[in-house]
Point group: C2
C-alpha cells in the first residue's frame, strides 16, 4: 500500500462550514460594477430586479468568511467532499519526481463543479420567496446543475438554451427535463429580445449573449423569478471556494501543501474555487505557491485581452465590470471546450491576475486532447475537455520537474467528467480537430469595441 492513499475524503463533520471571500484580503480591491445604461456604480436596488438580496450582499461584502447555511450544508453532504486524488499512475507514466494531485468534481450528480453554486443560489432565492429561476446555458453543464438544484428545493427552472446546442445536444435537454426544468431553444418567442431577433432572422442559431438577454429579461419582467448565472460573479466564486477549502483539509491529512495550483479558466469560477483558499496564504506572504489559470488559445482572455471596463454580454444588458476582456462582440472559434468560450473573465480573477498573483497560460486544443487521453489512459477517468486544459499544463510542469529533478507538489482541478463530451473525443480521434492561432490583428477588432469608461470616483 502506498504512503498516501489514492483518494482522500473527509468525514461529514470535517466538511467546511464557511466559504472564503477573497475580497477581504485583496491588496487592491475590485472596481465597482457599473449600470450598463448610466455607467454609474450599480446599486443593490437595481440588481434586486433579478437577484435576491442575500446574493447581492455576497457580491460586495468584505467579510472574510461567509457561513454556509445549514440547509446548503445538508445538500452538500449528499455529494461532497469531492475526492482529492493522487495521480500515481500519471506520475509513473511521465517518470516525474513531482507529486501530482487532482481534486475531482466529476462525482457530483451533474458531473461537474457547477452544483456547488447552483445549490446556494436556489436556496437564497427560495428563502426570499422566489419560486422560479431563469438562466441560459450553452453546452448545458450549468443548465443541468441549476435544474437539479431547483428540483431539490422545489423551484421551477426555465432554461434558455442556445439553439444550436439545443439541436446538436438533445440529450442535455433531456437531462434538464428529467429534473423537471422547462427548456426552450434561444432565441425564443417567450421574450421581446428573442422575438426581435427571430423577426430579423427566423433561422438564428442563437448565442450565449442572446440567451443571457432572454433570461435576464424573463427574470426582470416577473416578480416570482430571479436570474441565475453559473460563473464570473463574485457570489458564484464565493460558493466555489468550497473546492479549495476542502482541498486544504484533505492535503493537511497527508501533510502536503501545493507548490502550484492549476485550473482551467473560462468565466473563472472553477479556477478561483480551487485557488482562492490557497491564495489566502500567498497574499499573507506565508507561502510562495504559484497559481496558473489555463485558457484556450482560441479564447485568450487573460493572456491577450485588455484590463478594462466592458459589458458582460453582447446585448449590453448585463452590468459593466472591470475585467480582462477580448471585447463583448468577440465570438471565439467553435472549440470543444464550450465552457471556456467567454469573452470576459471574473473581475476577482482579473484583478488578482493584474496584480501578479496569478499566471496565465493559453493552450491549443489538439494538445489539450492529447493530454486528456494520456490522463485517461493513466488514471482511467475521462476528463471533460475544459478540465483537460488544466491537465495539459500539469503534465507540462511535471515534465519540467523531471528535467530539474525537483519533487514539486502539483494540485490541479479536474472540474468534471467527459461522459457528456464523447462527440468531441470522437472528433479528435478521427482527426477532425484543429487549432486556431489568434494574431494580434485578429484580436484587434474585438478589442476595438471595448468602451472607454473610466473608473468612477466613489
Amino acid at each position: 500500500m502506498k504512503n498516501v492513499p489514492y483518494r482522500i475524503y473527509l468525514d461529514e463533520k470535517e466538511l467546511p462550514k464557511k466559504w472564503y471571500n477573497i475580497q477581504a484580503d485583496m491588496p487592491v480591491k475590485c472596481q465597482p460594477a457599473l449600470n450598463p445604461q448610466t455607467h454609474k456604480p450599480i446599486g443593490p436596488e437595481e440588481l434586486s430586479a433579478i437577484f435576491p438580496m442575500e446574493l447581492i450582499k455576497q457580491e460586495v461584502t468584505q467579510e472574510r468568511y461567509i457561513d454556509i447555511p445549514e440547509e446548503v450544508q445538508e445538500m452538500y453532504r449528499s455529494f461532497r467532499p469531492a475526492p482529492l486524488c493522487r495521480a500515481y499512475r500519471l506520475e509513473e507514466a511521465l517518470g516525474t519526481p513531482a507529486k501530482i494531485y487532482y481534486k475531482y468534481e466529476g462525482t457530483t450528480p451533474s458531473g461537474s463543479h457547477k452544483m456547488n453554486t447552483a445549490i446556494p443560489q436556489v436556496y437564497y432565492n427560495k428563502k426570499e420567496g422566489i419560486t422560479r429561476l431563469a438562466t441560459e446555458t450553452g453546452a448545458g453543464q450549468w443548465g443541468s446543475a441549476l435544474s437539479i438544484a431547483s428540483q431539490m428545493f422545489g423551484l421551477e427552472c426555465m432554461v434558455y438554451m442556445v439553439k444550436v446546442s439545443y439541436e446538436q445536444k438533445p440529450y442535455r435537454k433531456s437531462l434538464m427535463q428529467t429534473y423537471g426544468a422547462k427548456v426552450t431553444p434561444s432565441p425564443s418567442e417567450y421574450t421581446k429580445a428573442g422575438r426581435e431577433i427571430l423577426k430579423k432572422d427566423p433561422e438564428s442559431l442563437g448565442s450565449l449573449g442572446i440567451a443571457i438577454s432572454e433570461a435576464v429579461e424573463d427574470a426582470a419582467s416577473r416578480k416570482d423569478t430571479s436570474y441565475a448565472l453559473g460563473s464570473v460573479l463574485n457570489h458564484v466564486i464565493l460558493h466555489q471556494t468550497i473546492i479549495g477549502e476542502e482541498a486544504i483539509k484533505q492535503m493537511e491529512k497527508i501533510d502536503e501543501y501545493p507548490d502550484m495550483v492549476i485550473g482551467c479558466c473560462g468565466g473563472g469560477s472553477n479556477f478561483a474555487g480551487i485557488s482562492f483558499p490557497f491564495m489566502r496564504d500567498k497574499i499573507a506572504d506565508k507561502r510562495k505557491t504559484r497559481f496558473i489559470a489555463v485558457e484556450p488559445a482560441a479564447c485568450p482572455t487573460l493572456t491577450k485581452g485588455k484590463f478594462s471596463y466592458d459589458f458582460g454580454d453582447t446585448a449590453k444588458m448585463a452590468p459593466i465590470t472591470m475585467m480582462y476582456t477580448l471585447g463583448h462582440d468577440f465570438v471565439p472559434e467553435g472549440i470543444h471546450a464550450g465552457g471556456l468560450r467567454y469573452h470576459g473573465e471574473s473581475p476577482l480573477v482579473s484583478q488578482l491576475y493584474h496584480d501578479g498573483f496569478i499566471e496565465g497560460r493559453s493552450v491549443h486544443q489538439t494538445k489539450v486532447f492529447e493530454a486528456a487521453i494520456q490522463f485517461a489512459r493513466a488514471e482511467a477517468i475521462l476528463p471533460a475537455p475544459e478540465s483537460a486544459h488544466a491537465i495539459q499544463v500539469a503534465i507540462e510542469e511535471a515534465k519540467k520537474c523531471k528535467e530539474t529533478g525537483e519533487e514539486k507538489t502539483i494540485l490541479f482541478a479536474l472540474s468534471g467528467h467527459g461522459h457528456f463530451d464523447l462527440a468531441a473525443y470522437e472528433a479528435y480521434l478521427s482527426g477532425k480537430i484543429g487549432d486556431v492561432e489568434y494574431t494580434d490583428d485578429m484580436l484587434a477588432e474585438g478589442l476595438k469595441c471595448v468602451p472607454s469608461i473610466e473608473c468612477p470616483s466613489i
Copy 2:
C-alpha cells in the same frame, strides 16, 4: 446533521482483501458446465483455449475466500470503495418509515460496476502471458470497462460491438477507442463466423450471440489472446462480491443490517455482487434477509423461464450450463435497459433462486423510468435504466412499509449512472416508450429450443 451520514466510505485499509465464493456455502451445488459439442462436463484443458488457468480455477473452486491479488487491490484503491448512500430525500418524498440505502457504483471510471471484474480478468491474463483480449459488447458498458482495464495493464483489447449499437451509439465506440481499444462492428470480416453471416446477409445488424461467437473464435484462434466475459460466469460473480463485502463493512459502521437486498438482474453479476456476501448469513441461518432479483418484464428469465441445461449463446459455441433460461434463441423486445436482455442467467443465481434463497420480480419499463425519474428528482443522481429496475422495487417495498408502519432497512444496488443513457430518457419523456407483456404462449417458442440434456452423473 443527521445521525447517519449521507455517504459512507471506507479507508483504504478497510477495503476488503478477499472475494467471497458462495460455492463453498451453497446447500445444493451447481451442476457442472458441459461441452457444447459432446455434452460431457467441460474440463479445464478445454477452457484453457480461451481463458487463463487462474480464472478457470476460480470458476470451479470450493474455497470460501479468494485473496484479491495485491496488484488488483492497488487498482481497486484508485476508485473504490463505492459509496454507500442513505436515501434521506427519497424516504422523505415517499413518506416511508423505511430506511433506504444504496450502494452507488456510478463513481467508477466506466460509470458502472463492470470495472470490478474487468480489472482482475485483465490481471490474471497478463500474469499468464496473454497480451490481447477479445470480447463482445452490446450497449457498451462492458466493452468500456474492459478497454479501461486493458489499458491500465498494457494489454490490447479487441471489442466486437453489435453492429446496430455501433451505429446507434458512436460515442461508446469513441470511449473505448480513447482507452486504446480496437472496436469493430459485428458481424465483421475478422472471423469465420462473421464472414459467414455477412455472406448470407451483408446488411446484418448483428446480435450479442453473433458477437460472442466472433470474440470466442478470435480468442480460440490466437495463442496471445483470451476471451473475457462481463457477467454470468462464476469467476465474474466472485469478483463482484467486492460490492457486498464493502457494503457489509459500511453498514457495520452505522450499526445497520439490511432486511432486504435488491438488485437488477440480467446475467446476474450486479445482483450477485451485492447479495452473496449478505446471503452467507442467510445460508448459515443467522439472518432472515430477503433477496430480490429484479428483471425486465420483457426478458423474464427467472420469473417465467425454465431451470434447465441450455446454451449460453445463439451459435451454441459457449458451454452449456444449468440455469434459468428463456431458450438460447429467445430475442427479447428492444428495451432501454440493454444490459438486462440476456436469455439466460448466472448458474449460481439460478441454483440459489431454485433453492428458495432469492425472490424474482419482473417489472415493466415505463414503471422503471417513472421510478428512475422519481429517484433522480429526490436524490439528484441520474440512474442507468438497468439500475432503475432495482429502484422501482425498492420504492414499492418502501411504500409497503408506509402501509404497515414497519421501519425496514432496504439496501439496493445502484449499479451505474445514466449519463450514457439520455437517449432512453429522451424517448421516455417524449412518450415513445411502451411495455411488452409476454404471455406464456409467446414464451413457449423460445422455451421449445431448450435442449433436453440430463445432468450427467459425475
